[in-house]
């Protein structure tokens, strides 16, 4: 091999199954804003779109932010998006065909006038390759206040969170319907910003019906979480968002939005969909 990432590979210091207690880090902008919105009685709406998927994506980002989102999640395109279904795979492929890079996505986010917290979703290899400190610093410099790294589980988290937390980047952790009770507690206690409850056992993608697991996993996470719990994966429509929010604090909506962009709807269609979700959630 000819090299390694700048701050060296993480060594995985603890593998005895007991995560260290969360240090008393200051809450990030993401957590402050979402918690405040929740405390005011709002349901949280976090739309997702893939960075670089077309030449209008920065406009789409600003448009969904203005249409009533509480935070917005931007995906870094990765060559092997193994937890994503066909819609986000296609968006990732288009983004990579446009020679999109992680630094390019962050630079564009830094230039955008969003006005709400931004969260980056990225597969871990892009972070590992850049180096934890460099990626955390780049995110912070672009105003990003949260990170979701779906293939970085609790046991492997330390090297990243030690770089991210002091930079003001909250690491949002995921819980799934398959997460056992004890682990659910450990993940919820360690998560920052919000807890991302995966609504169904499966990859991202639109579903005709809301899985019965969506409310169940939210309810289980809420027992252990003192920060907001948002459900994503398989939440595709306003009706489904409202149903999930009978239990959850909010929703992440990805594929349904990305499909509208893939279909050429542009920032207008994206904004229209997000305001539709907003109105439905506000009506309850």
């Amino acid at each position: 091999m000819t090299g390694r990432s700048e701050d060296g590979p993480p060594t995985g210091r603890w593998h005895d199954g007991s995560p260290p207690e969360q240090s008393t880090a200051q809450p990030s902008l993401l957590e402050e804003v979402l918690t405040a919105r929740k405390d005011q009685g709002h349901k949280l709406l976090v739309p997702y779109l893939t960075g670089g998927m077309d030449d209008q994506w920065p406009l789409a980002l600003e448009a969904v932010a203005a249409a009533g989102a509480d935070a917005v999640e931007i995906g870094m395109p990765f060559s092997d998006p193994m937890i994503d279904g066909q819609t986000i795979q296609e968006a990732s492929r288009r983004a990579l065909d446009r020679a999109t890079t992680p630094e390019g996505v962050l630079a564009e986010m830094g230039r955008s006038r969003v006005g709400i917290p931004t969260v980056v979703m990225t597969y871990y290899n892009l972070v590992f390759r850049a180096g934890h400190h460099r990626m955390a610093a780049n995110m912070a410099a672009s105003g990003v206040s949260g990170a979701i790294i779906p293939d970085l589980p609790l046991e492997e988290l330390d090297p990243w969170s030690e770089a991210a937390t002091p930079s003001g980047v909250a690491t949002v952790l995921l819980v799934a319907p398959s997460t056992p009770e004890e682990r659910m507690e450990a993940v919820c206690r360690r998560s920052r910003g919000f807890v991302y409850a995966v609504g169904r056992m499966g990859v991202t993608g639109e579903q005709a019906e809301l899985a019965h697991t969506a409310q169940e996993v939210a309810a289980r996470a809420l027992r252990f979480s003192d920060i907001p719990v948002c459900v994503g994966v398989g939440v595709s429509t306003a009706e489904q968002a409202v149903a999930v929010c009978e239990v959850a604090d909010g929703v992440v909506v990805g594929s349904a939005l990305v499909r509208r962009l893939l279909d050429g709807g542009g920032p207008e269609a994206a904004a229209e969909f997000v305001s539709q979700l907003r109105r439905a959630l506000d009506r309850g």
Binding site: H15, A176, P177
Partner: protein, 394 residues
Amino acid sequence: MTPTELMGDPGPGGCFGRFGGRFVPEALVAACVDLEQAFRAAWSDPAFRIELDRLLRHYGGRPTPVSRCPRLSEEIGVEVLLKREDLTHTGSHKLNNVVGQGLLARRMGKSRLIAETGAGQHGVATATAAALFDMECVVYMGEVDIGRQELNVFRMELLGAEVRPVASGSRTLKDAVNEALRDWVGSVVDTHYCLGSVMGPHPYPWMVREFQRVIGEEAREQCRELLGGGDPALVVACAGGGSNAAGIFAGFADDTAAALVAVEAAGGAALTGGLPGVLHGMRSALLQDEVGQILEAESISAGLDYPGIGPEHAHLADIGRARYHSATDQQVLDAFQVLARTEGIIPALESAHAIAWVLANAGTDELPLGSTVLVNLSGRGDKDVAQVRDLLRP
């Protein structure tokens, strides 16, 4: 990990030095933990070991012999011994792993096996195990590989498996792994993911190596018999993910002085040309660009067309216990023909990488004249004959 024991138990974190681990989405963590616990229990259960041994003997055809190669040895001035995994049922070492995982899946109460395949050998082996254990079977295979291994597709279908073409990414092995993982996220309740190599999240790299360890343990005893108590100076195997190499190395790494050499495809050489990274649940050596996008491997042999290698290999390279080299497609084609002509054995194109390295290095400091080398002949070449004919007689 016990620091003194090479190729031992990697412990609950699944770490091989700075490599390994379990980098999976939360939805799969519980399944990996369950699998690790089930494997740990089964592997220390004499009844499981006896049943596995019985199946490998009476169904799989083990033990496979170690053959001398008198004509080839004469030609190159080096004593070549072949561990004959090509004689295993289904034609490659892959059966050792799938019989083990199939038994384990049955013990865990799973009714469905899924697998990825490149050349089709692991897919055929998994379909075979599914038939043997009366389980449903779905095999993910890249469209490119389906094109070049049509017969293996039909073979899997004959065995009752469904082959699902994968059209994403490079449409080869790495994309088949992505698709199998995507299936598993949604099917984990009743499905076992029968991963084909010493890669992926913990416990796979360890578990698959243990199921392949039988190659090395047999070979060490067989070599001692043939060599009057001695060990070969070198043990050579091809490596894509690296399961046949791990299996044979496991018999020699800890308590012999044999040098260990793995041969990657020149177009898919994760250890000789890659960088540390995280893919498919493991931290290992990967072919990737400067920002971490995974690159597409390119090789004449579909089974080695993978941009990564198992984490334990990355560790063995790190500590210098094994060395990693590569062979070009042309060297491989030559070796394929040389072994056929001199010994009457047509090797799999994958295994021909190991032969190619021996041919290229016989008489050098790596492999001095008069030394003895054990080559793992991981599979037979029947599946490759049509492809090689097209390459030699275009």
